[in-house]
Symmetry: C2
Subunit: 340 residues, 2 copies
Amino acid sequence: MNIKDIAKLSGVGVSTVSRVLNNHPDVKKETRDKVLEVIKECNYVPNNSARILKSNNMKHIGVLVKGIFNPFFSEMLKIIETGINDIGYTMILHHYDTNSLGGNEGEVLISFIKEKRLQGVICLGGNFSKIEEERFEEIEIPIVLTSVDSHMKINTKLFSRVCIDNKKAAYEATKYLIEKGHEHIAIMLGDEFDAGVSNRRVMGYMEALDEYHIPINKDYIVMGGYDFEPAYESAKKLLTASPEITVLFAISDIMAIGAGKAMSDLGFTVGKEISLLGFDGLNIGKYYTPALTTIEQPGKQMAEDCIDLLVQLIEEKEANQNIILETRLIERKSVCNFKG
Amino acid sequence: MNIKDIAKLSGVGVSTVSRVLNNHPDVKKETRDKVLEVIKECNYVPNNSARILKSNNMKHIGVLVKGIFNPFFSEMLKIIETGINDIGYTMILHHYDTNSLGGNEGEVLISFIKEKRLQGVICLGGNFSKIEEERFEEIEIPIVLTSVDSHMKINTKLFSRVCIDNKKAAYEATKYLIEKGHEHIAIMLGDEFDAGVSNRRVMGYMEALDEYHIPINKDYIVMGGYDFEPAYESAKKLLTASPEITVLFAISDIMAIGAGKAMSDLGFTVGKEISLLGFDGLNIGKYYTPALTTIEQPGKQMAEDCIDLLVQLIEEKEANQNIILETRLIERKSVCNFKG
DNA sequence: TTGTAGGCGTTATCAG
DNA sequence: CTGATAACGCCTACAA
């Protein structure tokens, strides 16, 4: 069932059908109605591939997500999707995991753009630092990177970025813990190969420690795999091996919750005998017991800024930008003062 | 940069390039290498739309999700994606929310299939009971519905289904609570218009109450909007208005957690002075404090069954089926006996 | 206001 | 083994 069939059935030419389909004004009402009727009767749906193939301004914005199952991304995605629809574009979501390819996110990005004929892209997460400039240059549409590592050499000729200062956020978080009297401060990162975000945050952690002349203990730096289970296991091992630890700074709320369970299982009351600090500001933290103290990333704002910026870029009203947003410490119940 | 350019640059015909692209064996090694080199040099990526337009067995399986942000679906999705890749297909994810259309999921489904030229579809959630048989009949590819309401008139001529018995699960859950000595049992549903799952579960709840001659109190049936915040508000209102309630059965773990917060805020210790029962068996429940007693849906199994069934269907080795899987009560710490 | 025809980038068929 | 060429379904000049 294609446009030709519809044309035949309605007794008109294909272009008329096409015009009806695309809401062109220059079709007589009768003709339009007749065609519409046939379309409905046949449950005809135009073939998208052919459409895209033909015209190349389909008002599609691509969203490339690394690890869609990260709840922080999910929350941002909701806002991004709404935003894209609001400005009259269609969102095309594509997600990938690192293991599904040779860590070459640049290739994924380029394929995505070419395949889908996108007018712009937002990348959520991922590590594009290894992509050669040359490759970026060949991309002719605007790109906005968000939630990527902020230390990456930024070239606003090539792309825009909306992010937080990961190092600073972790630095301030650690400082906060130190000022609460803690000295044995452990940090839980994502995974070893996550060159981006984890790396920046551990730098901030170390800097704060340094500033207060607290020696850095390698044993206090552990990996939690960005999920409940590995975080739980990792925390259990950590706290058993180093019982002097009084606070754990987990680099994501999910890991914090996993680690919190390990703490209770080990007999500690979180927020009283041991402290726990998260990162992200997920909704769940508010409803967790004890309510999770955490570093909030301005997810909503980041999402909105991405859309706003991208539209400006697509309409060529604006040059590439590097937007850095502020994080915020949300004090709830999971961090207490160290009572020496 | 298209296949023609590559052909010209490599000094071969388009068909040869196409053959290289598709790993056809009948190309001389030298030729292949030369073409490959040019492709790499030009960073050429074939146009997917054209590809799809042309051939119509692209080994694409569509996954149509209602509310991708439901964590239970996220967990299933992980497994589905892996499964689809394992059998050599590509997953195309499409999600929608009810508000984005006139509640007409059938149309979404049909458009999705036609646009993407799918070989099979898995629908996660949604309500397809209103879709006319006629429309289903016009679909020529296998469809597997999962996590949909199980009371829907099933026609295995038209589609397959993998689900749980929602009514029975809720019945048994309620019975469990009654046998724990509870009499004032409240239930929190998703939303009023969710004709499917919520509806079936409340039926099970009422049936159990009936069986034990416990009167049904309309005030005990509330809506929690499937999210923390509304569940929290709703629970707070409920427990303030009806303080005699000793247990709340929330129809999703997320709502249970939201409601749990309301309970603590009201001064109750969950699992001691008041009980809380969830539904889904999300990972988070295990790490929640107190560990959440819940009805586990066999998400992994459901996902795997969907894939297995769909492959059989696509390869025409099997007829449509209606698979009903067992739920399981996971007793943790959030439900206690009623001490009259 | 409507119809005809060419082309978008691929793949498949069929000669060579 | 390789190359021309005809589809695939749609959109859009251009012509009527």
